[in-house]
C-alpha cells in the first residue's frame, strides 16, 4: 500500500479507469437543449480536473450529473469500474461535494455548521482557524460576508478524515487572493496524499497535476441546423 502511494498513481490505463471516476461519451441536456456531447475524461487518484466553459456551457449541469443529482444523461460515468447508477452509492460514500449553493446555513454559526457535517469541536475550530475565520466561530453566518460564508463551506476541506473525491463547483468564487492561495495549497496537499479533485472555475488554478477540460471542445455539432441550411 505504502509503495503504491509513493509511486506515480498512473500504473496503466485500464487500472486507472478502475480506480477513479471515468466519464466517456457523456452528453447532457437541459430544458431540451443539448449542452455538450462526447465528453471524455478520467479523474485518477492524485490528479485534478478543471472543467472550463463559458457561462451556460453546462459546467454546473455536468457537476450535478456527476454527483447523481441529475440522472438525465447519455454515455457512461463509472466510479472504480462500476457504471452509474450502480456505482453511485459507492461514489457518494467517498465524495465531498461543495456546490454553487454551499450548504452553509445562515441561521447557524460556522462552528454549528461544521458540527452538522459531523465535525468534532476541536477539528472544527482548527479548520476554521485554517480558513482564516478565527474569532468568527460563534457569529451567525448571516452576519458574515459572502467570502466568509464561502470560507465556512471550504473549511470542510480542512477537516480530518476527508473523503478522497472532492467535487467543487466554483470554489474560488468570492474568495480573496490569500483565500485562493490557501485553497490551492490545501488542494495540492489532498492530491499529494492520493485524493482527487474535480472543480469548475473561470480563473486559472495553480494546482498540479491538473488536466483541463474545456466544454467548448465538446459542444454539440449543429447537425440539425446544418441540414436546415442545406434544405434552404
Amino acid at each position: 500500500m505504502a509503495s503504491e502511494l509513493s509511486k506515480s498513481p498512473v500504473p496503466d490505463a485500464q487500472s486507472v479507469r478502475e480506480q477513479s471516476l471515468a466519464v466517456s461519451g457523456l452528453a447532457c441536456e437541459r430544458d431540451g437543449r443539448l449542452l455538450f456531447e462526447g465528453l471524455e475524461f478520467t479523474l485518477a487518484p492524485g490528479a485534478a480536473v478543471q472543467v472550463e466553459g463559458a457561462n451556460g456551457a453546462g459546467k454546473s449541469t455536468l457537476i450535478r450529473t456527476l454527483i447523481g443529482s441529475a440522472s438525465d444523461f447519455t454515455g457512461t460515468i463509472a466510479w472504480q469500474g462500476l457504471a452509474f447508477p450502480r456505482g453511485l452509492a459507492a461514489m457518494r460514500a467517498s465524495l465531498l461535494y461543495i456546490g454553487h449553493y454551499a450548504g452553509v446555513r445562515r441561521g447557524l454559526t460556522p462552528l454549528e455548521n461544521l458540527a452538522w457535517y459531523g465535525a468534532g469541536q476541536d477539528d472544527a475550530m482548527r479548520a476554521l482557524e485554517l480558513v482564516g475565520l478565527y474569532g468568527f466561530e460563534d457569529v451567525l453566518c448571516q452576519q458574515l460576508s459572502a467570502g466568509q460564508n464561502r470560507r465556512v463551506a471550504l473549511a470542510r476541506l480542512y477537516l480530518p478524515d476527508s473523503p478522497p473525491l472532492w467535487i467543487l463547483d466554483e470554489p474560488l468564487a468570492a474568495l480573496d487572493v490569500t483565500g485562493v492561495a490557501g485553497l490551492e495549497t490545501q488542494m495540492n496537499c489532498h492530491l499529494r496524499r492520493g485524493g482527487s479533485v474535480l472543480l469548475t472555475s473561470h480563473q486559472p488554478v495553480n494546482i498540479a497535476p491538473l488536466q483541463r477540460v474545456n466544454l467548448a471542445d465538446f459542444s454539440p455539432r449543429m447537425a440539425v441546423e446544418e441540414e436546415l441550411h442545406r434544405a434552404v
Binding site: 450548504g103 446555513r105 457535517y117
Partner: protein, 247 residues
Amino acid sequence: MQSESVGDGRKRIAEPVLRPAVPAAAPGFFTLFRTELTLAVRRRSDIVNPLLFFVTVLALMPIGIGPEPEMLSRMAAGLIWVMALLSTLLSQESLFRSDYEDGSLEQLALQSQPLYFPVLAKVLVHWLVTGVPLAVLSPLLGMMLNLGQAGYWPLLLSLVLGTASLSLIGAVGAALTVALRRPGLLLALIIMPLYVPVLIFGTGTVQAALDGYGYGPQLAILGAILAAAAALAPLAAAGAIRISLEN
C-alpha cells in the same frame, strides 16, 4: 495489487489504492433535531406569526358573527380547528425553503442515509413550535368563544394529535413545491384535501364531548391517522425532495 491489475485488465482490484472510502459522516437524528430546534428558536417570527394569526382571527370572530353566547358556543370548536389548520398551512410553506436555497438539502440528499430521518426531525420541530403552542392556547380561546367546559380537554388533546398529523401531511406538499419560487395557492390545493379527515375527527372529538358522549373513539382515530402519517408522510416527502432537487 499492481501486478493483479496489470496481468488481467478486467479483474477488479481487491482493495482500493487509496485509503478505504470512509462514508461521509451522516448527522444522527439527535444532531438533526437539535440543529432544527436551534434554527427554529433563532427564527422567532416563524413561530410567533402563525400563532398571532390564530389568536387575532379568533378574536375577530365574535365581532364578525355577533356576540350571542349560544351561537358562538356552537361554532367554537369548528372555528378553532379551522384556524389551527390555516395557521399550520401558513407556516408550512417555509419548511424546506431555506434548506433548499442554501444547498443543505442537497447535501443531505447526497448522504447514504435515507432522507426519512432528516424530514422527520424537521417536522417534529415544526410541530413543537407551531402545533403545540396552538394546542396549549386553545382552551383559553375556547373560553373566549364560550365553548362548554366539557370541551376543553378534548379540544386540547385532539389538537395535540391533529396538528402533528397536519405538520406531517403538510411536509409532503412543502417538499413537492420547494423548487417553485411562489407555491402559494398550489400548496394549499395539494394538501387541503388531505387535511379534511383530520378536521372532521378533530371537531368530532370536541362535539362528542359537548354532547355528553365519550370522545375516545374519535381520539383513537386521530391517533391512527397520526401513526399512518408518521410512517408514510416522511417517505413521501423524501421522495418529493429528490424529485425537486433534480431540476
